[in-house]
Amino acid sequence: MRRYAILLTFLLLVPISATRGQADIIAIKAGKILTISGDPVTDGVILVENGRIAEIGTEIEVPENASIIDASQKVVMPGLVDASAVPPVRGDLNEQSSEITPALRISSALDPQSKVLKRIVQTGVTTLYVSPGWRNVIGGLGVVIKPTGPPRRTQEMIIKDDAALTVVMGLDPISGNRIPWREPPTNFYYRRPTTRMAIIWMLRKSLFDAQQYATSKDKEDPGLQILCSALEDEIPIRLNVRRAINIRTALKLAEEHDLKLILDECTEGYKVAEEIAQKNVPVVLGPFYYYPGSSSQYREGREVNWNNAGILANAGVKVALASGAQSQPIDLLTAATFAVRHGMPRDKALKAITMTPAEILGIADRVGSLEKGKDADILILSGDPLKVTTRIERVILNGKTVHKTD
C-alpha cells in the first residue's frame, strides 16, 4: 500500500516537473564547484534540467534557451543532508501509551506548513530525516523528506518512507515512568522500564517476539511485522545511544541478531571508536558539542569530547553530522565548521553533512553530491563553506530556487 503511494507520488511528480522543465534549463556558472564525490572543479558549469543535474564539468556548451545563474565568484556545493532534524510535527513526538510502538509512522504526522521546514531550507538543508521521539524503547518509523515549497501534502515531500526504525537505549524511555508505590497503578505511566536494564530487556523481548511471530504468524500484527523486516535487514535500526557501555551493548546485540545498525547521538563514541569501526556501523552525531560544566541537557553522556566526530572519523567510522533532533538545533554548516576547528579533517567534515548522511539514509543515488543524474539540490555560497563569515546566497531544490538572499 505505502510503496504504491510513494510510487504514485513519483508518477505524479514527474509529469509536473517535466512540463515545467522543458521550458527552463538552468545553467550555473560556478567559480568553484565542490562536487564532494570527486575533486573540486574550478570555473565549471552545471546544467540543470527537469530538476536534475544534466551535465557538470568545465567544458560544457550552454544551450541558448537556458537561464543562467552567474556564480563565477562563488562556491557551489550540493544541498546539505540532515540525518537527524527537528521534526516538522506539531505536539508530542512520542506515543506515550506504550513502550513498544513499531507501527508508528512519523510520516503520518508531518505538518507541511511547519515553520521548521521553511527555516531549515534557508540554512541550506535540502534533505532531512525525521524520526519519532526518543521516549519509547521502540519508537516507530522515520522518514526522509525534502522541504519542498509551499504547504503541500506531506506525501509529496517524502522521498523515502519507512527509512529506519527508531530504537532507544539511552535513558529517555525511563523518564516519566513511575513505580506503583503503595497505591495501585492509575494510568499507563506506571510501567516498565524504570531502569537501564529494563530498557534493554524490553528491546530483547520485542526482538524475541518478532522472531516467534516470523515463524508462526497466527494473527496479523503490523507492529511485529515491522520488527520482522528490521530483523531481516529490510529496515535499518536507528539506535540512540550515548554512553560507551551502551554502545558496546548495542554492538553486541547487533551481532547476536545480525541487525543493520545506525548509531544515533553517540556522545561517548570517541571512547570506543575502534570497536564501532570494526563492526562497520555508521554513526549520526547529534549535537556533539556540549560543554561540561554548564547546566546539563542530558542525564547521561556527560563526558563529552569536542572532537568526537574527528576521532570517530579518523578511526574509520562513517560519520554524519546532524542538527540534532531532540535538543537545541544547530545549522549544519556551523556544525561542520566547528568539527574542523576541533580536529576533524576538512574533507570528511564536508562529506559528513552531504554524502555520508545520504549513504546512511540510503538515498545516495539521488542526493549528497553534485553528479550527473542526481537531484539538482545546489547551494551557492559567498565563499569557503567552512568559514563563519560565509553566507548561503541561494538554495536550489529540485532545480528550483527556494531561497535567495539579496
Partner: protein, 425 residues
Amino acid sequence: MKSRFCTAFTAVLLIVFVMSALGYAGPVRKKLAIQAGKIITIAGADLKNGVILIEDGIIKAVGTDVEIPWDTFVIEAKDKVIMPGFVLAHTSSGLDRANENVPEVPFLSTFDSIDPISSYFEDSLRDGVVAMLVLPGNNTLLGGTGTVVRPHGRTVEAMLIKRYTGLKISLRPTRNTSRMGHMQRFRRYISDLKDYLEEYEQRKADAKEEKKPFDEEIDTRKQPMVDLLDEKLTAFIYCDRAADIPKAIEIHKTHELDTVLVLGSDCYKAVGLIAKSKLPVILPPQLIVWETNEETNEEEMKIIPMIFHKAGVKFAFQTDTSQYGSRYLWYQAATAVKHGMKRTEALKSITLYPAKFIGVDDRLGSIAVGKEATLVFLTGDPLDAQAWVDQVMIAGEIVYEKAKDERLKKLLEKPDEIQVPEDTD
C-alpha cells in the same frame, strides 16, 4: 631622600603584594616588546609585522618601525595575530544565583556573589575575554549593582577591575505582576525615594538652623538609586520586548540617567526609536530571529546586528553559554560580518564599544599608547573559526597559554585506551 626611598620601597612592596594577590607566579618583566605578525589595533589601521612596546603593563609604543631598546624582553609572535582582549559588556553568569526574589534590591552587589572558581571564568579567558561586567539577572525590577572583573584570579578582589559599576533595571514584569503593576512599582519607588531625600534635606536644614551636628547618612539601601539619579551610576535597563523601549527612553529622559539599553530579542522592532534616542545598546545573545511574514506566510530571517548597524546604532555583543556558537564573542562578530556588517565595526563591537559602555575604555578596548597591555594572541584571523586563542596577556603578563591548557587537551584529544574485560560467554 629618605622619603623617596620609602616610597620606592612601598611601591616595590605593593607590586609584590599585588602580584602575589593576582596569584600568578611567573616572572613579570618590566619592559616587553612583542613582535607580531599582525596587529589589529582597533584604534587605527591594522599593522603588518608590527611591534608593541610595553612598560609596567602599559603600552608605550605601537608601530611597524618602533625601535626595541636593548634592555627589553622580546616576545616573538611573528605567526600570530594580536588584538586587544575581548570585552563583555553584560553577563549574569559566574554568579551563585543571578536573581533575588524580592523585586527591589538596588543595594545588592554582584561583588558579593561572584564565584571565582566558576568554570565560566576559566572558559571566558580561554575564549579571549579579558574584562566583563557582571550584573544581576533580568528577573528583578531593581536588581543591584554590577562589578567589572577580569576572568583571572582566585579571589574576587584579585579579579576586580572596577567595583560598583552599573545598576540593573529590568522592565520585564515579575510573576503575578502585570506590566502596568511593574511600571507602577518603579514609579512608586522613585517617588518614595524623592520623598525620603526631601525629608532628609529637611532634617539637614533643621539641624543647621538649630546649629546641631548632623551626622545622619543616607540609607545605604537607597544609596545606589541616589547615585543613579546623580548619574554616578549607569543604568542598564533591560527591555524584554519592543514595547519596553519607549518606557526605557522615557525613564532615561525624565530622570536624566546615564543609560545603556540591554535588549531582548524582540526589541529590534523598535530600532527607529533606539536610533533616535542615541543610547548605547547591548544586543541579545540570539542574533538571528525568525519572523513570519503575515502577508506571504514566509519565514523571514531577521539579523539583529544588521538591523541596528543599518540604523547607525553603536552596540556591544553578548554571549550565551548554552548556545552552540554564540558562546564566543568572535563568533557573534563573525555572524554579523557574514550578513554584511563592516568588519572593523564588528570588531569594535566586541572590544572598544563594550569597554566604553562599562567605563573601562581608558584602559582597555584597543591597542594604543597609554592603554593597558591586555592582549590576545590568535593563531589566525579573529573571525575565522579555525583560529584559536594562543595566549592571553593581562597588563603585560601572560595569564593563559593554550599549550598548557590541560582542560582543552582533555576536550580535544582521544583518551587513553580503556582496558575492556574479555567477554566470556
